[in-house]
Symmetry: C2
Subunit: 162 residues, 2 copies
Protein backbone atom coordinates (compact mmCIF):
# COMPACT_ATOMS: atom_id res chain seq x y z
CA UNK A 1 0.00 0.00 0.00
CA UNK A 2 1.37 3.46 -0.92
CA UNK A 3 1.78 6.28 1.60
CA UNK A 4 -1.12 8.08 -0.09
CA UNK A 5 -3.43 5.07 0.40
CA UNK A 6 -2.65 5.18 4.13
CA UNK A 7 -3.71 8.84 4.24
CA UNK A 8 -7.00 8.02 2.54
CA UNK A 9 -7.75 5.35 5.17
CA UNK A 10 -6.83 7.72 8.01
CA UNK A 11 -9.18 10.32 6.55
CA UNK A 12 -12.12 7.86 6.75
CA UNK A 13 -11.70 7.81 10.54
CA UNK A 14 -11.16 11.59 10.82
CA UNK A 15 -14.48 12.28 9.09
CA UNK A 16 -16.32 10.59 11.98
CA UNK A 17 -15.12 13.14 14.55
CA UNK A 18 -14.86 16.27 12.35
CA UNK A 19 -16.71 19.16 14.01
CA UNK A 20 -18.38 20.30 10.76
CA UNK A 21 -18.49 23.48 8.71
CA UNK A 22 -16.68 26.64 9.84
CA UNK A 23 -16.65 30.06 8.11
CA UNK A 24 -14.26 30.80 5.23
CA UNK A 25 -12.79 33.82 7.07
CA UNK A 26 -10.26 32.81 9.75
CA UNK A 27 -11.61 33.33 13.27
CA UNK A 28 -8.33 34.63 14.76
CA UNK A 29 -7.77 36.96 11.76
CA UNK A 30 -4.26 35.55 11.61
CA UNK A 31 -1.87 34.22 8.95
CA UNK A 32 1.07 31.94 9.74
CA UNK A 33 3.99 31.77 7.28
CA UNK A 34 6.36 28.88 7.84
CA UNK A 35 8.47 26.12 6.31
CA UNK A 36 7.19 22.90 4.69
CA UNK A 37 9.28 20.94 7.23
CA UNK A 38 7.65 17.69 8.37
CA UNK A 39 8.21 18.35 12.08
CA UNK A 40 5.97 21.41 12.25
CA UNK A 41 2.42 20.45 13.24
CA UNK A 42 1.01 23.95 13.47
CA UNK A 43 -2.37 22.99 14.90
CA UNK A 44 -0.62 21.21 17.76
CA UNK A 45 2.34 23.53 18.24
CA UNK A 46 0.24 26.72 18.26
CA UNK A 47 -2.99 25.38 19.76
CA UNK A 48 -4.96 26.16 16.61
CA UNK A 49 -8.50 24.95 16.01
CA UNK A 50 -10.24 24.26 12.68
CA UNK A 51 -11.10 27.63 11.11
CA UNK A 52 -8.65 29.73 13.15
CA UNK A 53 -5.83 30.85 10.80
CA UNK A 54 -4.40 30.76 7.29
CA UNK A 55 -1.26 28.63 6.96
CA UNK A 56 1.20 29.45 4.17
CA UNK A 57 4.18 27.09 3.82
CA UNK A 58 7.11 26.75 1.41
CA UNK A 59 10.71 25.57 1.53
CA UNK A 60 12.23 27.81 4.20
CA UNK A 61 9.16 29.79 5.21
CA UNK A 62 10.58 32.59 3.10
CA UNK A 63 8.23 35.43 2.00
CA UNK A 64 8.67 34.94 -1.74
CA UNK A 65 6.40 36.74 -4.22
CA UNK A 66 4.02 33.77 -4.14
CA UNK A 67 3.81 33.96 -0.33
CA UNK A 68 3.13 37.71 -0.54
CA UNK A 69 0.40 37.01 -3.13
CA UNK A 70 -1.25 34.56 -0.71
CA UNK A 71 -0.87 36.98 2.22
CA UNK A 72 -2.33 39.88 0.20
CA UNK A 73 -5.33 37.68 -0.59
CA UNK A 74 -5.60 36.55 3.04
CA UNK A 75 -5.81 40.13 4.32
CA UNK A 76 -7.69 41.84 1.48
CA UNK A 77 -10.26 39.18 0.64
CA UNK A 78 -10.54 37.18 3.86
CA UNK A 79 -10.06 39.68 6.67
CA UNK A 80 -6.83 38.61 8.43
CA UNK A 81 -4.76 41.20 10.32
CA UNK A 82 -1.87 39.63 12.30
CA UNK A 83 1.07 37.78 10.71
CA UNK A 84 3.40 35.22 12.35
CA UNK A 85 6.57 34.10 10.57
CA UNK A 86 8.14 30.91 11.98
CA UNK A 87 11.55 29.64 10.91
CA UNK A 88 13.09 26.60 12.57
CA UNK A 89 16.30 24.88 13.61
CA UNK A 90 17.86 22.23 11.32
CA UNK A 91 16.22 23.79 8.22
CA UNK A 92 17.07 22.43 4.77
CA UNK A 93 17.53 26.05 3.58
CA UNK A 94 20.33 26.60 6.13
CA UNK A 95 23.52 26.74 4.04
CA UNK A 96 21.54 26.05 0.85
CA UNK A 97 23.36 27.07 -2.38
CA UNK A 98 20.66 28.43 -4.71
CA UNK A 99 22.86 29.19 -7.77
CA UNK A 100 24.25 25.62 -7.67
CA UNK A 101 20.73 24.17 -7.32
CA UNK A 102 19.39 26.20 -10.25
CA UNK A 103 22.40 25.25 -12.42
CA UNK A 104 21.74 21.56 -11.65
CA UNK A 105 18.08 21.88 -12.68
CA UNK A 106 18.96 23.84 -15.83
CA UNK A 107 21.56 21.22 -16.86
CA UNK A 108 19.11 18.34 -16.37
CA UNK A 109 15.94 19.85 -17.80
CA UNK A 110 17.38 22.30 -20.34
CA UNK A 111 15.32 25.06 -18.72
CA UNK A 112 16.57 27.73 -16.30
CA UNK A 113 14.26 28.01 -13.26
CA UNK A 114 12.79 31.51 -12.86
CA UNK A 115 13.17 31.63 -9.06
CA UNK A 116 16.05 32.98 -7.01
CA UNK A 117 15.66 32.03 -3.37
CA UNK A 118 18.89 32.12 -1.42
CA UNK A 119 19.56 29.95 1.59
CA UNK A 120 20.84 31.48 4.82
CA UNK A 121 23.59 30.97 7.37
CA UNK A 122 22.13 32.79 10.40
CA UNK A 123 18.68 31.54 11.36
CA UNK A 124 17.81 34.51 13.59
CA UNK A 125 19.03 37.14 11.11
CA UNK A 126 17.08 35.38 8.34
CA UNK A 127 13.93 35.49 10.47
CA UNK A 128 14.44 39.25 10.98
CA UNK A 129 14.91 39.67 7.22
CA UNK A 130 11.65 37.81 6.51
CA UNK A 131 9.76 40.03 8.98
CA UNK A 132 11.20 43.13 7.27
CA UNK A 133 10.18 41.83 3.83
CA UNK A 134 6.54 41.59 4.93
CA UNK A 135 6.61 44.92 6.79
CA UNK A 136 7.95 46.67 3.67
CA UNK A 137 5.54 45.10 1.18
CA UNK A 138 3.09 47.69 -0.17
CA UNK A 139 0.56 45.05 -1.26
CA UNK A 140 -0.08 44.02 2.34
CA UNK A 141 -2.51 46.43 4.01
CA UNK A 142 -1.98 45.39 7.69
CA UNK A 143 1.67 45.37 8.74
CA UNK A 144 1.60 46.58 12.37
CA UNK A 145 1.44 43.08 13.88
CA UNK A 146 4.11 41.08 12.05
CA UNK A 147 6.18 38.98 14.46
CA UNK A 148 8.98 36.45 13.89
CA UNK A 149 9.75 33.26 15.84
CA UNK A 150 12.18 30.34 15.73
CA UNK A 151 10.79 26.81 16.35
CA UNK A 152 13.20 24.28 17.84
CA UNK A 153 12.51 20.93 16.12
CA UNK A 154 14.06 19.00 19.04
CA UNK A 155 11.95 20.57 21.81
CA UNK A 156 9.04 22.29 19.95
CA UNK A 157 9.78 25.52 21.86
CA UNK A 158 9.04 28.84 20.13
CA UNK A 159 11.45 31.75 20.67
CA UNK A 160 10.48 35.24 19.53
CA UNK A 161 13.05 37.03 17.37
CA UNK A 162 13.15 40.76 17.97
CA UNK B 1 -4.01 39.81 24.47
CA UNK B 2 -3.31 39.43 20.75
CA UNK B 3 -3.97 36.22 18.80
CA UNK B 4 -0.22 35.70 18.56
CA UNK B 5 0.17 35.87 22.37
CA UNK B 6 -2.43 33.10 22.66
CA UNK B 7 -0.35 30.91 20.33
CA UNK B 8 2.76 31.48 22.43
CA UNK B 9 0.91 30.34 25.56
CA UNK B 10 -0.48 27.27 23.78
CA UNK B 11 3.04 26.38 22.65
CA UNK B 12 4.23 26.30 26.28
CA UNK B 13 1.81 23.43 26.92
CA UNK B 14 2.64 21.63 23.65
CA UNK B 15 6.34 21.50 24.54
CA UNK B 16 5.51 19.29 27.55
CA UNK B 17 4.13 16.46 25.39
CA UNK B 18 6.29 16.87 22.26
CA UNK B 19 7.83 13.49 21.30
CA UNK B 20 11.28 14.97 20.58
CA UNK B 21 13.63 15.09 17.62
CA UNK B 22 12.79 13.37 14.34
CA UNK B 23 14.96 13.19 11.17
CA UNK B 24 15.02 16.01 8.62
CA UNK B 25 14.00 13.66 5.78
CA UNK B 26 10.25 12.89 5.82
CA UNK B 27 9.52 9.31 6.90
CA UNK B 28 6.69 8.70 4.39
CA UNK B 29 8.77 10.23 1.55
CA UNK B 30 5.70 12.29 0.73
CA UNK B 31 4.88 15.93 -0.11
CA UNK B 32 1.41 17.42 0.29
CA UNK B 33 0.49 20.54 -1.71
CA UNK B 34 -2.66 22.29 -0.56
CA UNK B 35 -4.41 25.59 0.16
CA UNK B 36 -3.70 27.92 3.11
CA UNK B 37 -7.40 27.55 4.10
CA UNK B 38 -7.96 27.56 7.87
CA UNK B 39 -10.19 24.47 7.87
CA UNK B 40 -7.47 22.09 6.64
CA UNK B 41 -5.70 20.45 9.60
CA UNK B 42 -3.49 18.11 7.57
CA UNK B 43 -2.07 16.19 10.54
CA UNK B 44 -5.61 15.35 11.66
CA UNK B 45 -7.27 14.95 8.27
CA UNK B 46 -4.55 12.68 6.85
CA UNK B 47 -3.42 10.94 10.04
CA UNK B 48 0.09 12.40 9.79
CA UNK B 49 2.64 12.16 12.57
CA UNK B 50 5.54 14.52 13.34
CA UNK B 51 8.27 13.89 10.74
CA UNK B 52 6.05 12.18 8.14
CA UNK B 53 5.63 14.57 5.20
CA UNK B 54 6.45 17.97 3.71
CA UNK B 55 3.48 20.35 3.63
CA UNK B 56 3.47 23.12 1.00
CA UNK B 57 0.56 25.57 1.19
CA UNK B 58 -0.44 28.74 -0.67
CA UNK B 59 -3.66 30.51 -1.67
CA UNK B 60 -5.46 27.87 -3.73
CA UNK B 61 -2.98 25.00 -3.41
CA UNK B 62 -1.88 25.93 -6.91
CA UNK B 63 1.51 24.63 -8.16
CA UNK B 64 3.05 28.03 -8.84
CA UNK B 65 6.77 28.36 -9.59
CA UNK B 66 7.47 28.81 -5.87
CA UNK B 67 5.60 25.59 -5.06
CA UNK B 68 7.57 23.75 -7.76
CA UNK B 69 10.80 25.16 -6.26
CA UNK B 70 9.84 23.77 -2.86
CA UNK B 71 8.81 20.42 -4.36
CA UNK B 72 12.07 20.16 -6.35
CA UNK B 73 13.98 20.73 -3.10
CA UNK B 74 11.79 18.25 -1.24
CA UNK B 75 12.54 15.47 -3.73
CA UNK B 76 16.13 16.28 -4.70
CA UNK B 77 17.57 17.26 -1.32
CA UNK B 78 15.27 15.50 1.15
CA UNK B 79 14.26 12.24 -0.52
CA UNK B 80 10.50 12.50 -1.04
CA UNK B 81 8.83 10.51 -3.85
CA UNK B 82 5.01 10.71 -3.73
CA UNK B 83 2.97 13.91 -4.20
CA UNK B 84 -0.60 14.62 -3.06
CA UNK B 85 -2.42 17.74 -4.27
CA UNK B 86 -5.52 18.66 -2.25
CA UNK B 87 -7.96 21.34 -3.34
CA UNK B 88 -11.13 21.99 -1.36
CA UNK B 89 -14.75 23.11 -1.51
CA UNK B 90 -15.61 26.76 -0.72
CA UNK B 91 -12.13 27.95 -1.77
CA UNK B 92 -11.37 31.68 -1.92
CA UNK B 93 -9.76 31.11 -5.34
CA UNK B 94 -13.06 29.81 -6.76
CA UNK B 95 -14.26 32.56 -9.08
CA UNK B 96 -11.29 34.77 -8.14
CA UNK B 97 -10.52 37.54 -10.67
CA UNK B 98 -6.72 37.81 -10.80
CA UNK B 99 -6.42 40.72 -13.29
CA UNK B 100 -8.81 42.81 -11.16
CA UNK B 101 -6.87 41.93 -7.97
CA UNK B 102 -3.53 42.87 -9.52
CA UNK B 103 -4.96 46.12 -10.89
CA UNK B 104 -6.23 47.01 -7.38
CA UNK B 105 -2.78 46.37 -5.87
CA UNK B 106 -1.02 48.32 -8.62
CA UNK B 107 -3.36 51.30 -8.17
CA UNK B 108 -2.81 51.39 -4.39
CA UNK B 109 0.92 50.70 -4.21
CA UNK B 110 2.09 52.09 -7.58
CA UNK B 111 3.76 48.77 -8.30
CA UNK B 112 2.43 46.02 -10.58
CA UNK B 113 2.63 42.58 -8.86
CA UNK B 114 4.79 40.10 -10.80
CA UNK B 115 2.49 37.12 -10.25
CA UNK B 116 -0.34 35.90 -12.48
CA UNK B 117 -2.37 33.24 -10.69
CA UNK B 118 -5.86 32.79 -12.10
CA UNK B 119 -8.78 31.62 -10.03
CA UNK B 120 -10.96 28.77 -11.27
CA UNK B 121 -14.62 27.94 -11.81
CA UNK B 122 -14.51 24.11 -11.79
CA UNK B 123 -12.89 22.68 -8.68
CA UNK B 124 -12.38 19.19 -10.09
CA UNK B 125 -11.02 20.38 -13.43
CA UNK B 126 -8.65 22.73 -11.58
CA UNK B 127 -7.39 19.82 -9.46
CA UNK B 128 -6.69 17.83 -12.65
CA UNK B 129 -4.83 20.85 -14.08
CA UNK B 130 -2.67 21.11 -10.96
CA UNK B 131 -1.78 17.39 -11.16
CA UNK B 132 -0.83 17.84 -14.83
CA UNK B 133 1.37 20.85 -13.99
CA UNK B 134 3.42 18.78 -11.54
CA UNK B 135 3.54 15.74 -13.86
CA UNK B 136 4.87 17.92 -16.70
CA UNK B 137 7.50 19.80 -14.66
CA UNK B 138 11.02 18.76 -15.70
CA UNK B 139 12.56 20.00 -12.43
CA UNK B 140 10.69 17.32 -10.44
CA UNK B 141 12.50 13.96 -10.69
CA UNK B 142 9.70 11.68 -9.32
CA UNK B 143 6.36 12.15 -11.08
CA UNK B 144 4.85 8.64 -11.22
CA UNK B 145 2.90 9.01 -7.98
CA UNK B 146 1.15 12.39 -8.23
CA UNK B 147 -2.49 12.18 -7.14
CA UNK B 148 -5.20 14.82 -6.76
CA UNK B 149 -8.01 15.03 -4.18
CA UNK B 150 -10.82 17.37 -3.18
CA UNK B 151 -11.40 18.00 0.57
CA UNK B 152 -14.96 18.86 1.61
CA UNK B 153 -14.71 21.57 4.30
CA UNK B 154 -18.17 20.68 5.66
CA UNK B 155 -17.55 16.93 6.17
CA UNK B 156 -13.71 16.58 5.96
CA UNK B 157 -14.14 13.81 3.37
CA UNK B 158 -11.45 13.40 0.71
CA UNK B 159 -12.48 12.46 -2.83
CA UNK B 160 -9.86 11.41 -5.35
CA UNK B 161 -9.98 13.23 -8.69
CA UNK B 162 -9.03 11.01 -11.63
Amino acid sequence: MSAIDHLVHANEKYVQTFPGARPLRPKLRLTVITCMDSRLDLFGALGLDIGDAHLIRNAGGIPTDDVLRSLALSQRALGTREVVIIHHTQCGMDGFDDPAFRAELAAESGQEPPWRVDGFTDLYEDTRRSVRTVRECGWIPHRDDVRGFVFDVATAALTEVT
